[in-house]
């Protein structure tokens, strides 16, 4: 069974707070995992395409429809991997086959090669709430010694 017949779907729920920006990038705050994710326009489009269970072809078509044909299949696969690592989507494997590891590795390699092209490179950046708190605490830099 080819890799592309897997389906992807959003891991959504009441714990997610989503802010869409005017450039179609998205910030997702997951109160359950206490993480904040920044999805650039490419990653955000891929995530949105996963609103229902969608195959890679369907996701690719949605991305091309919105962002144009310059976005490569490798870039979409890279976005899917990033979104899985961030626990923002889940993958449903067909029951009767395993995903060949070599295919994934090949895709990853192709994706890395394509990173040289800035357009369409997906980016998922994650900030934990603990780190955000640390930034906030550090910003209060009053030289105070309390009694």
């Amino acid at each position: 069974m080819p890799y592309s017949e897997r389906t992807f779907s959003q891991l959504s729920g009441a714990s997610l707070s989503v802010e869409k920006l005017s450039d179609d990038s998205i910030v997702i705050c997951d109160l359950l995992s206490k993480r904040i994710h920044s999805l650039n326009p490419t990653a955000a489009t891929v995530w949105e395409a996963c609103a229902g269970a969608a195959s890679e072809q369907k996701i690719l078509a949605a991305v091309h429809s919105k962002l144009g044909p310059a976005i490569s299949e490798d870039a979409v696969q890279s976005a899917l991997e990033n979104l899985q690592e961030a626990d923002l989507i889940q993958v449903q494997e067909p029951e009767f086959t395993a995903v060949p590891g070599a295919v994934i590795e090949q895709s990853r390699r192709r994706a890395l090669v394509s990173l040289g092209v800035a357009i369409g490179v997906p980016a998922v950046i994650t900030l934990t709430m603990a780190d955000q708190r640390a930034y906030a605490d550090n910003s209060k830099s009053v030289p105070i010694t309390s009694d």
Binding site: S22, A136, D137, T145, S146
Partner: protein, 266 residues
């Protein structure tokens, strides 16, 4: 409890609080009154609305240092005279920033050029004041050298505290923007530019666009608020990012950077 120990004081009202600063030195009180949160109108000390918070400043020991008390509680001591103003200003900033309600603050220099707000997020010592000073010398209005106070409509409200300028001896001294000949921004302004700059000596101004979502992460790294305690802040920051162009990069000379920022703004 009324403070009866000090002979000199001044009061102002902010965030539902009556705040009084009291000392036993006329000169010190004059200086603090002149430079501390200067945009807030002073009021009679017996304002009937709300509770009164009294900050008192007194010498501690014989080494020329000061202590700051809130009511009867010492909150800072051993403060050198040249750091006293900064310490008190930060204490009051923290107090008021924590009471902003639905608004959210970001550590950022803010200048408003022809109605467009330019936000320069960065931590203390990152050169915000220097850049803001260059912008106001080119006709921008002064909004703040430390805080961008954002609302859910994507507007930034002024927080025009005294600029901390290094003198010839490299000691920071407060200076009002009006003393530099600048005009103050008195109304909220739409955020047009958010630019994160790193100072590299000798570098040429060079920035790249940032996605709105990346800008939000940068703002979350530069706010004194904890998102877990103020979740509504996400929408507030998003409102600013929706209207703004965002960039990140390096700068060298502040004057060249100010010219480039104005160019990006127009």
């Amino acid at each position: 409890m009324p403070d009866t120990r000090h002979r000199f004081s001044f009061s102002f009202r902010a965030s539902g609080l009556n705040i009084r600063v009291a000392t036993d030195s006329a000169a010190l009180t004059y200086s603090l009154d002149r430079y501390l949160l200067p945009w807030l109108p002073r009021v009679a000390k017996s304002s009937p609305k709300g509770s009164e918070v009294v900050y008192s400043v007194d010498p501690c020991g014989n080494d020329g240092c000061f202590k700051i008390q809130r009511g009867a509680r010492t909150i800072a001591h051993g403060i050198a005279a040249n750091l006293l103003f900064t310490a008190l200003q930060q204490i009051l900033d923290d107090l008021l920033i924590a009471r902003l309600g639905e608004r959210a603050a970001v550590h950022a220099g803010v200048a408003v050029y022809q109605g467009h707000a330019i936000l320069l997020p960065g931590s203390s010592g990152s050169g915000k004041t220097t850049l803001v000073r260059e912008l106001i010398s080119r006709g921008a209005r002064y909004s703040s050298d430390e805080f961008a106070v954002l609302d859910s409509d994507g507007l930034v409200h002024p927080w025009p505290r005294a600029l901390m300028i290094r003198n010839a001896c490299q000691i920071q001294e407060p200076l009002l923007a009006t003393e530099l000949g600048a005009k103050l921004q008195r109304e909220a302004a739409r955020v047009k530019l958010i630019v994160l700059l790193r100072y590299v000596p000798g570098a040429t101004f060079d920035v790249q666009p940032l996605a709105g979502s990346e800008t939000m992460i940068k703002l979350l790294q530069n706010t004194p608020h904890v998102l877990a305690e103020k979740p509504g802040m996400l929408g507030t920051l998003a409102a600013a990012c929706r209207t703004a162009l965002s960039f990140e990069g390096v700068r060298g000379a502040a004057g060249e950077a100010a010219e480039a920022l104005i160019g990006l703004c127009m």
